[in-house]
């Protein structure tokens, strides 16, 4: 019997695993790059004056308030129109990383600002230099304070990475959409994909809880 649709089979697992892998890889890139940039920008923001902050702050506000899907489409369209089209992975990584950075920067800024000036004065009074105080006091205390928020941002990046499918990146959601249109088995596939997202996120939240327990001194 010939049908327009072919049911889900084991031969689809390669496609699914590619989707899983692509979701993992773009999430890791965005979390790592976003964390590093966010640390730098967040620190600069906690240090700098009102003028710098106003300019920087509104830039971050734009990144955080324009929906990711719009940023993705605009950026990849723009690059294409400018004559240097980027591969979906590259364009997606750039946009998702910057988007992540915008959230991380505010998280880290809050952490650094939570370390009281008197704590830093106490450190300086022991003869510690400005940079020693930053490295040994402000950084570790600030990072601990915001670890749960960092974890929250990271977990949502994994979910947000699904949006990169709109510019043609073959991550988990897009592979599942392809399978659905071929098999017409949306229920099974969406449940399966949901489970995969959970499996991807779980190590991070498990590790996060472990770290939080270790830090809860």
């Amino acid at each position: 019997m010939n049908s327009l649709f072919t049911p889900l089979s084991w031969s689809d697992s390669g496609l699914i695993l590619t989707g899983v892998w692509n979701t993992v890889i773009i999430s890791v890139v965005a979390i790592v790059v976003g964390t590093i940039l966010g640390l730098i920008v967040g620190f600069a923001r906690s240090e700098s004056n009102k003028v710098v902050n106003a300019v920087f702050g509104s830039l971050l506000d734009v990144l955080r308030s324009v929906p990711l899907i719009i940023q993705l489409i605009l950026f990849s369209t723009f690059m294409g129109a400018a004559g240097s089209p980027l591969a979906p992975f590259v364009a997606g990584s750039i946009v998702l990383s910057l988007y992540t950075m915008a959230f991380m920067a505010e998280v880290f800024r809050g952490g650094f600002e939570s370390v009281s000036p008197s704590m830093q004065t106490a450190a300086r009074s022991l003869g510690m230099t400005k940079w020693q105080t930053i490295y040994h006091i402000r950084l570790p205390i600030g990072l601990r304070a915001v670890f749960p928020s960092w974890l929250g941002v990271s977990l949502s990046v994994i979910k947000d990475s699904a949006l990169v499918s709109v510019i043609g990146y073959m991550e988990l959601l897009r592979t599942s959409e392809q399978l659905i249109s071929r098999t017409q088995q949306p229920l099974e596939i969406l449940i399966g994909v949901g489970i995969f997202y959970f499996i991807i996120s779980y190590p991070l939240s498990y590790y996060g809880r472990y770290v939080e327990r270790k830090m809860a001194i």
């Binding site: 008197s118 106490a122 300086r124 009074s125 022991l126 003869g127 510690m128 040994h136």
Partner: protein
Amino acid sequence: MISVQNVHKSFGDLEVLKGVSLDVQKGEVVSVIGGSGSGKSTLLYCINAIETINSGKILVDDVDVHAKSTNKDKLRQKLGMVFQQWNSFPHMTVLENAALAPRIVKKMSKEEAMEIAKKELEHVGLGDKLDVYPTKMSGGQQQRLAIARALAMKPDYMLLDEVTSALDPELVGEVLDTLRLLAEEGMTMICVTHEMGFARDVSDRVAYFHQGVIAEIGEARQVITDPQNPLTQKFLSKVR
């Protein structure tokens, strides 16, 4: 010797120190008393170069604290400071708190720094708390940690800013006892305090601050029990 010479200090339009002079000899304990906002903390901050001054001079062992050429970080190693808030480093154990500055500022080996830190912690009666995190301790214990942390840098002087003011009344005694011990051992100290009994019994001299000037200074017992300046008399009658 710490020599404060006609120091003026303003925050914007507000002149907080209006010509303060004070010499503290090696081995001497001077208590500074006075009303809220009279500039007591500011004086300590200026001595430690945490705050700048507008005019006058402060010498610590003949080094001009506020000269451009003075290495402030180096200078602060000589001047231990303890604040009203104990400011324990919450991410480190008690031992690590006290060993941090010797290790990173004085570049001691880890073992050497730990050794000194341990000795100072035993000194203030925290020998059984080395591996505890400070947030698990009482305010009095944390304040003694702050004292040990400062002592571990082997300072020549200690500047103490109302170190018992934020403590529950029942915890004040243990911290004052620690300071009394330091005084007996000959540590040079400037103590800003509201504890008149401590000022009278432990210090050599007492200075009464009033609106940015030292209104009266003299032998401790005399200033507390028989003040000469009517302002001092008024202040003491209120705090008693």
